[in-house]
Symmetry: C2
Subunit: 330 residues, 2 copies
DNA sequence: CTGAAAGCGCTTACAG
DNA sequence: CTGAAAGCGCTTACAG
């Protein structure tokens, strides 16, 4: 952490007090245009940049948001992050990253996030149990730090951005039903994710409405594992439609189904519920519900800036639109 | 940014000075065991956590590293980040994320990273021209901030972690050659990446050594684009082997080749140079050179901690081992 | 081993 | 509109 030019250097060279330099940076309208220009030119000349840490301490605002996630490697996490980073940059917020895995001491992790003095928190971890979520939420509430849930669902009235996964899954299930599919399965995960639970609800609704029995097949996000699962599954079950909570699971299923001699989409319709790059690298290309993950990230960051700055907010529970991308697999 | 209990509260309740509290946190061996225990218990009782910002200002160390990248959404960036975050957490460093795209004012971006007072920088952006790289490097050097290049290659003697892409590609090309393949292409990117240039060198070497003409086909990372490229390509060229700098490009090629009536691997061997999840979701599964991206991230972060703490370092130019994962496409 | 004091580089009332 | 001064919450020589 090296530092060259400070506010004192600028003040000295411009022949004003450091208070004035501070003002031209933070409240330029309060300083005489001439002095302002003078100071501005010295700032430029010396390449002065205020020390963000000192500024943070003095102003009690770090202009930094904390991003809490389970794991960066999930396809959706990366896109979410991209949306967040773009907007954070636009509004001049720095971003600190924190990982929180379910096995850690959640209390400790949240307290260390708080100790880092972030002005707001974006919470992307969708792998916690309701009890763990409550713990997280309580600690953040105690610290009085603005919070937005980004693509995470929680019943209480916490600011959140997402899409209506329930409705989306309901709709796409209806679509398969309308095509005459009867043995439609939902491939979900063994591990619980708040979002997948809503996908399951939508699927169940549509099936029941059609007088059919909902059948949820739980597998893993690990391809080596779900390959074996699907191999077995295809031997023992009649399927003519499969909707997967993740695209990678859908693609993996397509591969196994084709190996087992089925035709996609002739024998089995397959749908992904994300629309990641996997969908267009699959053969046949995967029809998807498109979850606008980048937008969810961008909008949650924007919402967080509003909350941090006490701007007027229409709604703190934002539901973004989704659409269905028809391709070859259904 | 809310704050509850400060070092003063702890000092007061424990009946010691704040200097002593500070010492139990930073130099516990310098304080009397009894006082230490007393202070520790008060810290625990009050749930005290030192304000990271105040600490940063006073100690002139932020215990934060800056991560500069082009874009999080690339498959490799996410894994790189995962490795970095795990090690950063282990060594108690916070991480700040910065994006730097080629069209931005590079000088400004680097200066804002410097202003954020990071103790070290991990540079992951592999999309800059040599001139831009030089600009970046110079500014970071001026600020005297420790730097490690993570999976980025640059000729000068800057600390860096990577694998020997040239050798890896040379080897895999040789393998195809040994199988009797003659019309081997390298599918690389139109855009320049430092790493891909080394892949190209290895490929060229192997081909020339075999008395064959190296043929580099440049396409895009965008699937919609490379689909069309490959469709054309397959009409106009004889190919019996294709090595792609990215797995997604390899998979996309496989799809087009099969659609065009070729058999993989019977007619054409296809190789990926990353080993991402795309490789096992492809049909047939993609044979790859495995680039241990997570490890590269982890090792670069570890190297950076050593540099920041002035620990002894064997080498600041680390080359990690790679291996070839034989699957179905070659 | 412990405390008083200075200082890190800013911001922000408070006077003028 | 501008400056002097206090203060943000810590760390770190310096005495003792």
């Amino acid at each position: 952490m090296s530092n060259n030019v400070t506010i004192y250097d600028v003040a000295g060279k411009a022949g004003v007090s450091l208070a004035t330099v501070s003002r031209v940076m933070n409240n330029p309208e309060k300083v005489n245009p001439e002095t302002r220009e003078k100071v501005l030119s010295v700032i430029k000349e010396l390449g002065y940049r205020p020390n963000a840490i000192a500024r943070g301490l003095a102003s009690r605002k770090s202009t930094t948001v904390g991003i809490i996630l389970a794991d960066v490697s999930r396809a959706s996490a990366a896109q979410l992050l991209n949306g967040i980073l773009d907007i954070a940059k636009k509004y001049d917020y720095a971003t600190k990253l924190f990982t929180l895995s379910e096995n850690e001491d959640i209390k400790e992790t949240i307290r260390s996030v708080v100790a880092e003095q972030v002005d707001g928190i974006l919470f992307l971890n969708d792998e916690l149990s309701p009890e763990q979520m409550e713990l997280v939420l309580n600690h953040i509430k105690d610290a009085q730090i603005p919070l937005v849930l980004s693509n995470v669902f929680y019943k209480e009235n916490i600011p959140a951005v997402r899409i209506d996964y329930e409705k989306a899954t309901y709709e796409i299930t209806k679509e398969l039903l309308n095509k005459g599919r009867k043995n439609i399965y939902l491939a979900s995960t063994v591990r619980k994710y708040s979002i997948n639970e809503y996908k399951e609800l939508g699927y169940i609704d549509a099936m029941k409405e059609a007088g059919l029995e909902p059948k949820i097949f739980r597998t893993s996000g690990d391809v080596a594992v779900n390959k074996l699962h699907f191999e077995e599954f295809l031997k023992n079950n009649e399927v003519d439609g499969l909707i997967a909570v993740r695209d990678s699971i859908a693609v993996s299923f397509i591969n196994e189904a084709i190996k087992a001699g089925f035709k996609v989409p002739e024998d089995i319709s397959v749908i992904g519920l994300q629309n990641t790059k996997y969908a267009i690298l699959s053969r046949p290309n995967l029809t998807c519900v498109d979850t606008p993950v980048y937008d969810i990230g961008a909008v949650s960051m924007r919402l967080l800036t509003k909350i941090m700055k006490h701007e007027e907010i229409e709604s703190t529970r934002v539901v973004l639109p989704y659409h269905i991308v028809e391709r070859e697999s259904n």
